[in-house]
Amino acid sequence: MENFNIIWHYKDLLLQGLGYTLFVSAAAIIIALCVGMLLSVMRMGGNSLPSRIMKKFVAVYVSFVRGTPVLVQIYIIYQALAIMGLNLSNLVSGIIALSLNSGGFIAEIIRGGLTAVPKGQTEAARALGMSEPKILMRIVFPQVFKVALPQLTSEFINVIKVSPMLSVLAIVELTRTAQRLVSQTYINLPFYVAIAILYFIICAGLEELVKLQKKRLER
């Protein structure tokens, strides 16, 4: 009970941390979806030299994202953005780093989902005069997202679970908030259990939301 009182006492700070976590994750997921779609489109070209260069770029990008620690990626993106002279806040840099990371994974998920869309689907659209971008946005990606929904959901949850790493950029999200409170109060376990419960609620909530959405899609 005493523990609960302590946590309750700091609820505003914790909720603020939770807010940052939700904001950072949501923004990163949305941008990552765009990055993933963009990378997938870059992979769709034929055999011309520019297409081959783009495909190679995506291949290198994806293996880099998969083959290096997220923490290292965050440092690199942060420094690279600074060197490029972009005057971005740590928050924005952090969101970009997470998005670029997750975008690589989403590109791979989309690659798998694309095999579920038969060529005839796009040919029919093309024969009816639909433009290539519209074919992607209205015929191909909706079907890909539908079949790849389970993998996409795990990736979204992954983004939420990786977001504490942004504390290295002094972004005071949920985990960082807890760390601070621990060092202030010398009480640790209750805070960590409390944020674990919060993370669990977000992730489980997201999963439920997706399940509902899936039911709606599968009428």
């Binding site: 005839g120 005069g129 079907q143």
Partner: protein
């Protein structure tokens, strides 16, 4: 038809290779307004390839296709044709619809959405008008009762009739059919052929790749027999079926009639 006729589609010297494989060697053909042309021939003779070149689902290797005042040109003659072809194809596809063997309805959209999708997205027709038009077309093909169903809930014959309505919604001048009944269970072939017959009677210009010799004989104005990348016979059903000039066609007919 006494007025001097200009063809709707004019194919000159068309060839199509897939790498080393010469699928279409030299095709010359004119299609006139209101004509129903059946294209028949053995498997692998290039019938689908021929159709797919007409609306630029495939690039032609050489020669040219003129539809209205738009020209598709062989890309082997000049790589720059590619850009011009892309542009011409956009215009051509406004006038030339296509119906596929596998129907290719979009499974994530309802029947009604399948039919309204392109009028709204491509022609910018407003949604209400598109819906009204779509219901009219669905009624025409006998599918208005299933407007809110999803394609997977329909039989093959029903899906193909929806696919025809989807094509009609774009108000094409010519419709290409690539074996529209070959993927159907026998009991559903008739309903699709009947819809096509109605279209033919209404004056639609149609090119139909088919194995339905009955349909070819009864409904078409012209029958083209393809083999080895050439159109070997081109005449009225009477001429082609009763008096084929070539040995190849004779053999083909004797084979399919014996089955």
């Amino acid at each position: 038809m006494t007025e001097s006729r200009t063809p709707v589609i004019s194919v000159r010297n068309m060839a199509k290779n897939y790498g080393e494989l010469k699928v279409l060697r030299k095709i010359d053909i004119d299609i006139y307004k209101g004509e129903v042309v059946s294209v028949i021939g053995p498997s692998g003779s290039g019938k689908s390839t021929f159709l797919r070149c007409l609306n630029y689902l495939e690039e032609l290797t050489s020669g040219e296709i003129v539809i209205h005042d738009q020209t598709l040109k062989g890309i082997d003659e000049d790589k720059r044709h590619k850009k011009q072809n892309d542009k011409a194809a956009r215009e051509i596809r406004k006038n030339v619809g296509m119906v596929f063997q596998q129907f290719n309805l979009w499974p994530h959209k309802t029947v009604l959405e399948n039919v309204t999708e392109c009028p709204v997205q491509v022609k910018k027709v407003n949604k209400e008008d598109a819906k009204a038009k779509a219901m009219e077309l669905l009624k025409k093909v006998g599918m208005d009762g299933k407007a809110n169903a999803y394609p997977t809930q329909l039989s093959g014959g029903q899906q193909q009739r929806v696919a025809i309505a989807r094509t009609l919604a774009m108000e094409p001048e010519v419709i290409l059919f690539d074996e529209p009944t070959s993927a159907l269970d026998p009991e559903f072939v008739g309903e699709v052929l009947n819809v096509m017959k109605d279209l033919a009677e209404a004056g639609m210009t149609m090119i139909v790749v088919t194995h339905e010799m009955g349909f070819a004989a009864e409904v078409s104005d012209r029958v083209c027999f393809m083999d080895g990348g050439y159109v070997i016979e081109d005449g009225t059903p009477e001429e082609v079926f009763k008096n084929p000039k070539s040995e190849r066609a004779k053999q083909f007919f004797s084979k399919i009639l014996n089955v």
